[in-house]
C-alpha cells in the first residue's frame, strides 16, 4: 500500500508547485498572529526567524533583509515561524452522490474533492495555519479539530481514506458542527456537490458567517452533470441518493437542462454571495489547482 504522502491523486506535486505561488490573502481580516503570507493587523508581533525567500513585488519592505541586500546585493524576504491565528476547517461532502463520475476517464467527484481537501490542508499546514476536517454524508462521519501541528496532516490524510457510508447529505448539520469546532472566527472551506437543500444550506452558511467565519464553497460538478453528457439517447435516470427516477429523451431536454444547471450555479453564487461567502464551481475535468486558485484569488483583493 503506497504511502499516503506519496499518493499521486492526493498530493499532486504539479498542483502544489502551482499553488506555491499563490498567496492566500484573507478577505476577512482574521484575528491571529499570522505572519509570513498573512497580513496581520498586529504589526510587530514577535516572531522567530525560519528562512529566506526571494522578494516578490508587493512584499512588505519591512521584512526585507537589508543586511543581505547590502552584503550580497540579493533581495530576500525574512520569513518567521510562529503559530498563526488562522484556523481553517474543511467540510467535505462524502455522500453517495459524490461517489459518481459521468465518464471513466474522470475521477469521481469524491476523489476530486479529496484531492482538493488534501491540497488545501497541505497549503494551510505549510503556512503554519491550523486545519481541521469534517466529513459528512447523511451524518457527520469524521471530525478533526483544526490544528497546525505536523501530525495534523497525517490525521487528515487518514481521515480522507475513510469511505462515506450514507446516502444523503446533511450539510447544514456538518456546518453546525464546524461552527462548534472553531470558536474563534476562522475559515471554513466547504467542498460538496451541493445536492442538498438549498435553503437549509444557505441558512447554515449564514450562521457561520454570523459568528465571523470566512466561508468558501467549492461546488464540485462532474461535466456530465453540467451538460447531461450521457451517451444513451433514451434512458431512465436514477438518483443515487433517493432512488428517484425519470425517463427522458436526453437530446430533447439537454439544452433545457444545461440552462437549468447554469441557473442553479448562478443562484448558488447569488445566495452565497449575499451571505458574504465565496462560491466557486469546480469541474472534475479541470486540474484542482486551478479551482483552488479561483477560490482563493478573490481574497487577494480583500483589505
Amino acid at each position: 500500500m503506497p504511502d499516503k504522502n506519496s499518493r499521486a491523486d492526493l498530493m499532486d506535486p504539479v498542483s502544489i508547485a502551482a499553488l506555491g505561488r499563490i498567496e492566500i490573502i484573507a478577505r476577512w481580516v482574521v484575528e491571529g498572529f499570522l505572519t509570513g503570507l498573512h497580513r496581520s493587523p498586529r504589526k510587530g508581533f514577535s516572531v522567530e526567524f525560519a528562512e529566506h525567500r526571494a522578494y516578490q513585488p508587493g512584499d512588505d519592505l519591512r521584512f526585507l533583509d537589508w543586511k543581505v541586500v547590502a552584503r550580497a546585493d540579493r533581495w530576500l524576504i525574512k520569513q518567521f515561524e510562529e503559530e498563526t491565528n488562522l484556523k481553517a476547517t474543511i467540510v467535505l461532502d462524502v455522500s453517495k452522490s459524490m461517489a459518481w463520475t459521468g465518464s471513466p476517464a474522470r475521477v469521481t467527484k469524491l476523489a476530486y474533492a479529496e484531492q482538493v481537501a488534501a491540497a488545501v490542508s497541505w497549503l494551510l499546514l505549510r503556512q503554519r495555519d491550523g486545519v481541521g476536517l469534517i466529513r459528512f454524508d447523511d451524518e457527520v462521519r469524521t471530525v478533526i479539530p483544526p490544528r497546525g501541528r505536523s501530525a495534523q496532516w497525517r490525521r487528515i490524510i487518514n481521515a480522507l481514506e475513510d469511505p462515506g457510508s450514507g446516502k444523503g447529505s446533511d450539510a447544514p448539520g456538518a456546518l453546525m458542527k464546524a461552527a462548534q469546532l472553531v470558536q474563534r472566527p476562522g475559515m471554513v472551506v466547504i467542498i460538496s456537490d451541493l445536492l442538498v437543500d438549498e435553503a437549509e444550506m444557505a441558512k447554515a452558511v449564514s450562521a457561520l458567517r454570523a459568528v465571523g467565519h470566512d466561508v468558501t464553497v467549492l461546488h464540485v460538478i462532474d461535466p456530465a452533470e453540467r451538460d447531461l453528457a450521457i451517451a444513451k439517447m433514451e434512458t431512465e435516470l436514477v438518483d443515487t441518493e433517493t432512488d428517484a427516477s425519470v425517463n427522458v429523451m436526453l437530446s430533447e431536454v439537454r439544452d433545457a437542462y444545461r440552462e437549468t444547471v447554469q441557473a442553479a450555479i448562478g443562484e448558488w453564487r447569488d445566495r452565497l454571495s449575499a451571505t458574504g461567502s465565496s462560491y466557486e464551481p469546480v469541474y472534475t475535468d479541470q486540474p484542482f489547482g486551478v479551482a483552488l486558485r479561483r477560490a482563493f484569488a478573490a481574497r487577494q483583493h480583500l483589505p
Binding site: L237, D239, M249, S251, V253
Partner: protein
C-alpha cells in the same frame, strides 16, 4: 392522385416509428445513475410546456417527413401545378393521307403537321412511352429519337389511309403502354372526308391539331376506265373530272400518249381508241397539275385482243345476225367460226346461247349443254313479263324464260351471273359460254328490240368469250384485296415482280396498274387509285373536328404552340415525386432546425 410505384407506400408505415417513440418515450430506457436528477426535474418543470410543444412539433415533422418521402418513393402523379409532366404513354397520329400533300403557301400541309409533331416529341423525356402511327396504321415506337426519325421519313400516302383505324390502333397502344397517364396527339389537315364519322377514343385523352389553312381549288380525275375492259381491239376510255374550268387532259396507254384534249366542266372525257398493241396494258388519264398532284392522274387497265371471230348458228334469227354485222362493222368482232351465237340445242363452247324457242327442244338443249361442258340446265318454264336486272340491260323485260339451275355444285368464282329475273338467274357466264334463260325471240324477251342489245352482246363476247379469263380489280392504296387463286406474282409499274402468297393482302401504297402474272404472262390487273374523297379538300372547323371524337376528353386547336404545349401534360397529371421529395427534405431540415434552434440555448 395515383402512384406509379404504389408498393412503396408501405414505407409510410415507418411514420409510425416516431409516433410510437413519442408515445412510449416515457416508458422505455436503460437505467443510469445520475445524481443531479433534481436539475433534470427542474428543467422539465420549468420548460415542460416548451418541451411538450417542441416534442409534438418534432414528432409531427418526423411523421410528415417520413410520409412525404414514402409518397415520393411511390412516384405519385396528380393534377397539380408544378413539376414535370407525369410519365405518359403518348401516341402521335400523323395524318399523312394524300390530301396532306396539297401545297399551301408554298409548302405541303404535311410538312406543317410534321413540324408540330416534331415539337411535341421534343417534350418527351426518358420515362415516357412514345409511338408514331400514320394514317395507314403503321406504327413506330421507341425512343424519342427513333420516333422523330420515323416522322422525318413519313411521306404522304397515295390514298386516304384509314385514320379511324389509325386512331383505334394508337389508342390500343397507349392503353397497353403500362403508364397511367395516356394521351393521343393527332395532327391532321382536318379533311372532312377523312373524319366523316365519329371516332371512338376509348377513354384516352386526345389533343388534335388541325392548322387553319386556305383550301386551294382542286381538280381531280375521279374515275377512269376502259370500256369495255377487254378491247377487241377497239374500245374507249371514259374519265370523269372535278374540274370547274376547262382543263387539258392526256390519256396514256402503255408508254404512249394515246390522246390529248380539253375537257369542259361537267363533261366526261371519252376517247375511242383502236391501239395496235395487244395484251394487258396500263392506262392513265392525267390533268394538268395543281396544288394536289396526287389526284391529277388516275389509272386504268385494259386488255387488248384481236377481234374475236363470231358466227351465228343457222336458225338463230335475224336479231343475232344483225347484231354480229353491226359489231363486225365496228371492228369489234370478225366473222368466223370461233364463237357461236345460237340456241342452246346447238351449244358448243365458246358461244352465246339462248333458251330454245320451241319448248320441245328443251331436252335436246340440256343434253347439248351437258355435252358442251356447260354446268347449267334449263328447268321449268316461267312467264312474264318481268324486268331483267343486270349491267347494260336497263329496261329489258323477260317474257318467257326457263329456270336456270346448276347441273352440279359450282365452284365459287367460276360463274358470273350477268342478269336476274327476280331471284332467277337470267343470264350466266362461265368459262367459254354465256347462257341466257329466254329465247332470242320477241316472245321470249324484248332485249333484241332494245338499243342495248348490240352493246350487250359485244360486251358479252369481249368480256367472257375472247379467250382471256383475267380480271381487273380496283382498290385504293392500302385497301385489303383478294388475290386471284391462280396468281402468285404481281408485276409492279416499274416492271419488278413481287411474290404474293397471302389470299388477301393490302393493296400497294403507290397508285398505278399492277398486273397479275400467270406464269410469265399478264393475266389480270390490280388498279390502285386514291379514294375519290381525298380530292375533296373541304376541311372541318376546329369545333366540328372536336365533335367527331367521342369517348374521352378532346381538345382540338389550330394553334400549333398550344397543341405542342399540351403534349404529355394534357391530362394535367404531373409527376409529384420530386415535389414530395423536396417537401420531405424540407421537413427534415425543419426538424433539424427545431431540434437545434427552438430548444432553449445552453451555455
Amino acid at each position: 392522385m395515383s402512384f406509379l410505384a404504389p408498393f412503396a407506400l408501405v414505407l409510410a408505415a415507418a411514420a409510425s416509428v416516431p409516433l410510437v417513440l413519442h408515445l412510449l418515450r416515457r416508458r422505455t430506457g436503460e437505467k443510469v445513475d445520475f445524481p443531479a436528477i433534481r436539475y433534470l426535474l427542474r428543467a422539465e418543470r420549468e420548460h415542460s410546456r416548451q418541451l411538450k410543444l417542441r416534442n409534438l412539433l418534432l414528432m409531427l415533422l418526423r411523421v410528415f417527413a417520413v410520409i412525404a418521402l414514402a409518397l415520393a418513393a411511390a412516384r405519385p402523379i396528380g393534377r397539380f401545378a408544378g413539376g414535370s409532366h407525369a410519365p405518359t404513354a403518348m401516341a402521335i397520329v400523323l395524318d399523312n393521307s394524300l390530301s396532306t400533300s396539297v401545297v399551301v403557301n408554298g409548302a405541303p400541309v404535311l410538312a406543317k403537321l410534321k413540324d408540330a409533331a416534331r415539337s411535341a416529341i421534343g417534350r418527351a423525356n426518358a420515362s415516357d412511352r412514345l409511338w408514331l402511327v400514320t394514317a395507314d396504321s403503321r406504327v413506330v415506337g421507341g425512343s424519342a429519337s427513333a420516333v422523330r426519325a420515323a416522322l422525318d421519313r413519313a411521306d404522304a400516302l397515295g390514298g386516304a389511309g384509314d385514320l379511324r383505324a389509325a386512331v383505334a390502333r394508337a389508342a390500343q397502344l397507349v392503353r397497353g403502354g403500362g403508364l397511367p397517364s395516356r394521351q393521343l396527339a393527332i395532327v391532321t389537315d382536318g379533311q372532312a372526308t377523312s373524319w366523316a364519322s365519329a371516332v371512338p377514343l376509348d377513354g384516352v385523352a386526345t389533343t388534335v391539331y388541325a392548322p387553319s389553312l386556305a383550301t386551294p381549288k382542286n381538280r381531280a380525275v375521279i374515275s377512269a376506265q376502259a370500256e369495255p375492259p377487254h378491247w377487241t381491239p377497239r374500245g374507249a376510255v371514259r374519265a370523269t373530272t372535278t374540274a370547274t374550268d376547262s382543263v387539258t387532259f392526256r390519256v396514256a396507254l402503255g408508254a404512249r400518249a394515246a390522246a390529248r384534249g380539253i375537257v369542259a366542266p361537267g363533261e366526261d372525257i371519252v376517247v375511242r381508241l383502236a391501239p395496235a398493241d395487244r395484251g394487258w396494258l396500263p392506262g392513265s388519264v392525267e390533268l394538268e397539275p395543281d396544288e394536289l398532284r396526287g389526284d391529277d392522274v388516275r389509272w386504268f387497265a385494259v386488255h387488248i385482243g384481236p377481234a374475236p371471230a363470231v358466227s351465228v348458228v343457222a336458225g338463230t334469227g335475224a336479231f343475232a345476225s344483225t347484231a354480229v354485222d353491226a359489231l363486225a362493222q365496228d371492228g369489234r368482232v370478225a366473222r368466223g367460226g370461233d364463237i357461236l351465237i345460237g340456241g342452246a340445242e346447238s351449244a358448243k363452247r365458246p358461244g352465246v346461247f339462248f333458251a330454245p324457242t320451241d319448248p320441245v327442244q328443251l331436252g335436246a338443249a340440256n343434253r347439248a349443254l351437258e355435252r358442251a361442258g356447260i354446268p347449267w340446265k334449263f328447268g321449268a318454264l316461267r312467264t312474264g313479263p318481268a324486268p331483267v336486272t343486270g349491267a347494260g340491260l336497263a329496261g329489258v323485260s323477260a317474257l318467257r324464260w326457263y329456270a336456270l339451275s346448276p347441273r352440279t355444285a359450282l365452284e365459287p368464282g367460276t360463274v358470273d351471273t350477268l342478269a336476274n329475273v327476280g331471284s332467277d338467274p337470267w343470264a350466266v357466264a362461265g368459262d367459254g359460254y354465256v347462257l341466257v334463260a329466254s329465247p332470242l325471240a320477241t316472245e321470249g324477251t324484248d332485249l333484241p328490240l332494245r338499243a342495248s342489245w348490240v352493246p350487250w352482246l359485244g360486251s358479252a363476247i369481249a368480256d367472257h368469250l375472247s379467250g382471256d379469263a383475267g380480271s381487273i380489280t380496283e382498290a385504293a392504296p392500302g385497301a385489303n384485296v383478294a388475290r386471284p387463286a391462280w396468281a402468285h406474282e404481281l408485276e409492279e409499274p416499274d416492271g419488278n415482280h413481287r411474290e404474293v402468297t397471302e389470299s388477301r393482302f393490302p393493296a400497294p401504297d403507290r397508285p398505278g396498274v399492277y398486273f397479275w402474272l400467270r406464269g410469265t404472262q399478264r393475266a389480270g390487273a390490280l388498279v390502285v387509285n386514291p379514294e375519290v374523297g381525298e380530292s375533296d379538300l373541304t376541311r372541318l372547323s376546329v369545333a366540328q373536328l372536336e365533335a367527331r371524337f367521342s369517348g374521352a376528353e378532346v381538345v382540338a386547336t389550330d394553334n400549333a404552340s398550344r397543341w405542342v404545349a399540351s403534349a404529355f401534360s394534357f391530362s394535367g397529371r404531373r409527376a409529384l415525386d420530386s415535389s414530395f421529395l423536396v417537401l420531405g427534405l424540407l421537413l427534415l431540415a425543419a426538424e433539424a432546425v427545431v431540434t437545434r434552434a427552438i430548444a432553449p440555448k445552453g451555455d
